[in-house]
Amino acid sequence: AQSVTQPDIHITVSEGASLELRCNYSYGATPYLFWYVQSPGQGLQLLLKYFSGDTLVQGIKGFEAEFKRSQSSFNLRKPSVHWSDAAEYFCVSNNAGNMLTFGGGTRLMVKP
């Protein structure tokens, strides 16, 4: 069965510091992968997605993610975090039937 793992439940970084959120997937074929962000009390906003092609994908709000098949990873990065980035981040995969498999989420806190 398909699974997505986000090893870090909580992460705290200082404003202006770099960020990397980890995501590992388990799937036989190359999955379709997404990162969504959810601010408190809000819906999920799509940050970026990987379907095929260039393994480094750029998203909104200065985020990027790199697909590494050898490590079964799709880590999210941002070079300089802003206080407004504090939110819950979900790594998500999509199987052929379009059913999403969510990671457990990583809650990001940003220190001033």
């Binding site: 379709y32 997404f34 969504y36 009390g41 809000q42 819906g43 999920l44 906003q45 799509l46 997605k49 379907f51 979900f90 999509n94 052929a96 039937g97 379009n98 059913m99 999403l100 969510f102 990671g103 457990g104 989420g105």
Partner: protein
Amino acid sequence: DAMVIQNPRYQVTQFGKPVTLSCSQTLNHNVMYWYQQKSSQAPKLLFHYYDKDFNNEADTPDNFQSRRPNTSFCFLDIRSPGLGDAAMYLCATSRDRGEETQYFGPGTRLLVL
């Protein structure tokens, strides 16, 4: 702007009193989904419509029903809400099935008294 809209954003109901949540979309997508998200958890798929074809997840309680009268609108009906049904309910759409991106609405937070 094309989008997914959910109304109301906050809904308070009484234990056992039926409640309906609404979702509309201007994306003209074929597929609409309803998710339940409890505190500090990932969203859980309840069911989805592919056009008019209703697809229920195996573990979705019978208490939850859905209607899709046309392409743009989809409703979530909770026939007899229990305290355990208090959650955020998220609507999402995708252009088609398969490897497609899902676009989420802002959610409706349901409180059961």
